[in-house]
């Protein structure tokens, strides 16, 4: 069953099309990997799904309902939660408090703190609970971004390059965490540049180019397509 169906969505910025008649669907409990060269419309896709940009045309169906008119925080409350490519921690709050923010929307403070702690432990932030968030290194910030999103009790999680800018050994735990989330039944849309990670994680892979869907299918199949190799992998993988 598809949890989210994107139908014929278009989005233009000042005459330049960022998304062009895009169709995509994610099945419940699966990971959809989205790849594409810079400017292919990946982040725009996340923005459109989470409500940060309004669609010019098309529909976004979530759990059977069209959500394309709802503001971001309402979508988030319905379980559509995103992360940002550049981590946006709440400076001035501790790591624990950062994670508490979404939990506080639903629970009392004591309960929120308890839950946030357990999420932090799980997300490998247990040692940094009382550090000021802005003092974390990049890797920590990426983890915090993920932990905070997870704390918002998502049904579908949209990850914008969760591994961007990380070294190999720092990626491993994140890959493991994402896989665990999937095993918990979470649906995930993963936008990522790091090929290895996407191939390792995604159930279905979509390739965007100039806002259009270039290919769609099982990762191993998609990677074999010539068009994909030309458009995206050309330099990096040749």
């Amino acid at each position: 069953m598809n949890l989210m169906i994107i139908e014929n969505v278009s989005k233009k910025f000042g005459g330049i099309a960022a998304l062009k008649n895009l169709d995509l669907a994610v099945e419940k409990g699966r990971i959809l990997g989205v790849i594409g060269p810079n400017g292919a419309g990946k982040t725009t896709l996340i923005n459109v799904i989470t409500g940060y940009e309004k669609v010019d045309a098309g529909k976004i169906n979530y759990d059977g309902k069209d959500i394309s008119k709802l503001p971001p925080h309402v979508r988030a409350r319905h379980g559509i939660v995103r992360t940002f490519q550049i981590p946006r921690c709440f400076a001035g709050l501790t790591v624990l408090e950062n994670i508490m923010i979404p939990v506080l929307l639903r629970h009392s403070r004591g309960e929120a703190e308890r839950r946030a702690r357990s999420i932090a432990e799980r997300m490998l932030l247990g040692d940094d609970l009382h550090k000021q968030a802005e003092t974390l290194p990049v890797g920590g910030l990426k983890l915090l971004e993920l932990a905070r999103a997870y704390a918002a009790s998502p049904r579908i999680l949209l990850l914008d390059e969760p591994m961007g800018g990380l070294s190999q050994d720092r990626m491993e735990p994140i890959i493991r965490l994402i896989r665990e989330m999937r095993e918990d039944g979470l649906t995930i849309i993963l936008v990522e540049h790091v090929m290895k990670a996407v191939v390792a994680l995604a159930d279905i892979l979509a390739v965007l180019n100039f806002g259009e869907r270039l290919a769609h299918g099982r990762p191993c199949d998609v990677m074999k397509l010539k068009a994909v190799r030309d458009a995206y992998l050309g330099e990096g993988h040749a």
């Binding site: 408090e97 004591g110 009382h130």
Partner: protein
């Protein structure tokens, strides 16, 4: 709840409470000791809430000079009843809320026997009821808005005419000379500065006049303008478009300068252009507009017979002391101190509260002639303690860089160029 994270907001709040408690505890003794009570005084202190900083500072400075000169002269002659006068200035920045605090400080902490000045009408409106409440005589020497002496405050005295009187000489001239010569309805335009002074002159002076004489005068463009604008040309173009015979301005100094210059620039002329005192009677307007106001009239409070020897001598003294010729502010301030000094002669007690009451009675009884005319505070037509004796305005004209009195005829220095 059993644990509070050490950097959580609550913990921080607790620390803040502790820290601010210490800081405040440290400060409080200073605040309590703050107002210094003046020692028993051998002088008469006169409190002047004036704008010494901010946009009105130039005028605060003028009054400070005028008061200082008068007080120095009186003290040189031994003061009043053997006591010297002493001026205490407090900066109001021309802001009524600050003026209120200033006055409380002057009255209760500096123990002044009288209040003087205030410059702006808004300040005086706030100070007057307070002076009344504190039973301290307040002598106004410049704030002109009519309402100030219409509140029945017996501690509030006003030396100079009110805004409603400013334009009297001009109105007289318009009817008796301008209309008589043309013999058909005259088109007029009126621009006034949008502040208490401008609104006052418009409301109590110019507008009622044009309403009353609508058979002879047609008031076309009639607008309040903002005081600090950079460009008045749009406004002046609008006036030019209506091609009036008579243009009247009610302006302060800076706006008056720009209006004069820019009227030249857009080529705005009329048979008669007149200001209503204030900016247009100040020497500065001629020099700083580069002579653009040559030929302008100005109808304002009469500041004495400028041809009299006493006036000329005073003018000479002023120029010798400060290096520039005095204008309306300077003479108002100077005379105000003389009036206070005269009234202080009847003050005999040593207790400041009683001194104030004696001074109030003394002011009420004062009848004197100063260099700019007679002074007597009277109650009439809803005014209280308003000096009526010189309820007279004169029309001046800028001719060759000097403002000559040209109307009414009996005080004219020369004939108007019209």
């Amino acid at each position: 709840m059993d644990y509070i994270s050490p950097t959580s907001i609550d913990a921080r709040l607790a620390e803040e409470v502790a820290l601010s408690r210490n800081v405040i505890a440290l400060i409080i003794p200073f605040i309590i000791l703050f107002p210094v009570t003046a020692s028993a005084q051998e002088t008469f202190r006169i409190g002047a809430p004036l704008p010494m900083t901010g946009a009105g500072a130039a005028f605060g400075e003028k009054f400070k000079k005028a008061y200082t000169m008068a007080i120095d002269e009186i003290n040189a002659k031994g003061g009043v009843n053997g006591r010297k006068l002493q001026l205490v200035i407090d900066d109001t920045q021309a802001q009524p809320p600050l003026a209120v605090t200033s006055v409380k400080k002057l009255v209760t902490s500096d123990n002044v026997v009288a209040l003087i000045g205030g410059w702006a009408s808004g300040v005086a409106l706030a100070v007057a009821p307070l002076a009344q409440e504190l039973r301290t005589p307040y002598l106004l020497d410049h704030p002109a808005l009519d309402d100030i002496t219409r509140q029945g405050n017996d501690c509030v005295f006003r030396l100079q005419p009110t805004t409603g009187m400013y334009s009297a000489a001009l109105e007289d001239f318009l009817i008796n000379v301008v209309y008589e010569r043309q013999k058909k309805p005259i088109k007029a335009a009126y621009l006034y500065v949008d502040n208490a002074f401008g609104q006052g002159v418009a409301k109590y002076g110019i507008m009622p006049f044009f309403k009353e004489h609508s058979d002879r005068f047609v008031l076309g463009v009639c607008e309040a303008y903002s005081e600090k604008a950079l460009d008045y040309k749009p406004l002046l173009l609008k006036v030019k478009n209506a091609s009036p015979d008579v243009i009247i301005f009610t302006s302060y100094l800076t706006d008056g300068i720009l209006l004069g210059k820019q009227a030249k620039e857009v080529g705005l002329t009329a048979k008669l252009v007149s200001g209503t005192g204030a900016g247009h009677s100040m020497q500065d307007i001629y020099e700083k507009s580069g002579g653009a106001v040559e030929g302008y009239f100005s109808s304002g409070p009469w500041h004495g017979d400028v041809t009299s020897p006493a006036w000329k001598k005073w003018r000479g003294d002023w120029e010798a002391k400060y290096g520039y010729p005095p204008g309306e502010h300077e003479i108002e301030g100077y005379v105000a101190i003389q009036v206070l000094a005269r009234a202080l002669e009847s003050v005999k007690s040593r207790d400041v509260v009683r001194q104030r009451e004696e001074l109030r009675v003394g002011l009420k009884r004062t009848t004197m002639v100063t260099i700019f005319g007679p002074v007597k505070f009277e109650n009439f037509d809803g005014y209280t303690n308003q000096n009526r004796a010189y309820n007279l305005t004169a029309l001046g004209q800028w001719i060759g860089g000097k403002l000559y009195q040209v109307w009414p005829k009996r005080v004219a220095e020369r004939d108007p160029k019209y």
